[in-house]
Symmetry: C2
Subunit: 264 residues, 2 copies
């Protein structure tokens, strides 16, 4: 199942995201708040980072703060809104300034790598539905950053929108694959390569005609190069490589669009 974040009380969620000032502090009776939205978001992040989105429950977050689940509802309207806040908090880790002296391409490459890394640090981010187009300040900030990098290129708005979306989706998608394979391998306790080869063997058993049905796939698979040693396990290396070459291809496309004289 997926978290459909912020579907419900969108108004309230937005206020929280944009930190609408809390009610005036003066003339406030009752016990002082022992918690804060920030603290709750931090706790949520800790839970999700450590145990995954599946373990993120109001109970778990409350427990980490020494409270019950219901205590959180004083600060946050519901779980969906909490997830929204966590998502934006995670994106706040992204740098916003990139060196443009060498042109847009290296800057954009680094940006993509940074986003990729951020998604891998917080894999649960990839399970947050992308519903509404971009709402939180950090998310918008990231968009703005990309636009700044591409600003000198003179790309027309239509293309610009397409490029930004494509980049974003590409990184998210690649990160999801990377995160998920890593999770699958580590959940079963089997190291990367074994896990994959076990799966291959099984496939061969179940579909003996595999090579006939999928000749090109078979050829491609057999031609898989050993990944660079630096890149962790086998699968992880594979995904990183796909990320790199995919990104390069994508940026080649951008370059074509940029240099094409007719702007289309």
């Amino acid at each position: 199942m997926v978290v459909f974040a912020g579907q419900g009380d969108a108004r309230r969620s937005m206020s929280l995201l944009w930190r609408a000032p809390d009610r005036p502090r003066t003339g406030r009776s009752g016990p002082k708040p022992g918690l804060s939205v920030d603290a709750i978001v931090t706790a949520g992040l800790a839970v999700a980072d450590a145990e995954g989105m599946g373990a993120l429950s109001m109970r778990a977050v409350g427990e980490r703060l020494g409270r019950t689940a219901m205590a959180l509802y004083t600060y946050v309207p519901g779980k969906a809104e909490l997830v929204d806040l966590m998502h934006d908090r995670a994106l706040a880790e992204l740098p916003t300034d990139y060196e443009l002296a060498a042109g847009w391409r290296p800057a954009l490459t680094t940006w993509a790598e940074d986003l990729f890394a951020c998604c891998l640090r917080h894999p649960w981010m990839l399970q947050v539905s992308q519903a509404r187009p971009v709402l939180g300040p950090s998310e918008l900030g990231a968009m703005e950053t990309v636009l700044r990098i591409l600003h000198g290129t003179g790309l027309e708005p239509r293309l610009l929108r397409g490029v930004v979306s494509t980049l974003w989706q590409f990184v998210r998608g690649m990160a999801q694959v990377a995160a998920d394979t890593r999770a699958a391998a580590s959940a079963t306790g089997v190291p990367d390569e074994e896990w994959w080869s076990a799966r291959s063997t099984q496939l061969a058993e179940l579909a003996p005609d595999f090579a006939d049905r999928f000749p090109l796939l078979t050829a491609l698979e057999s031609g898989a190069a050993a990944p660079a040693a630096e890149d962790g396990g086998y699968l992880e290396g594979q995904t990183r490589e796909s990320f790199r070459t995919g990104l390069a291809v994508l940026l080649d496309g951008v370059e074509t669009a940029v240099t094409r004289p007719d702007g289309r």
Copy 2:
């Protein structure tokens, strides 16, 4: 939450996906099966298509078949496996033959559009975790199709892998945005455009300094062209356009890779 499909009993799940023959039919005592894996998958698809992944419960699927939730466990080991099967069934809708006379580019464009459309027909697909790299026959079939389209280009394996992944992720990502915005708009009953403009107004209230903080974003947004009338609502048109231009850029990149003499 996200469905981590097939994490559990991977072996059993794979057998089902690849339709390992049922136990020999002779010498079988007991009442005849009133259901079948296929029927269950069909029912699951119907539930998910109609009411979304959130409404997909074993109880709901059972009910649609006139059974209890537990009856399904005779045929399917658990919900995760059912979701895997549904996912592969949905992908089976994709064509596998594409006209290559005009070259790989139009074929690949059509393929991407077909996948995009399939994802929009079954938005819940996008909430199925991409964990393990591709396991079901239809999913592999789709990969094989892409490879067939790109076969004439002489792309080296490393690039080929990157391109295929990139395409796949791109389409999935764009479809997710499209599906989610559509869902958000229709869930609130507000038509596309209104929904979006309400959100804009709210943003302006919450962040009065918006235009200062995000100048490029503001400029880009204000320059948004009215989408073509054919494209349904405002947002939907916007997403379709991003999809088209993004795809074009991406394929430009592929073209560069294909025509570059040094093969890198």
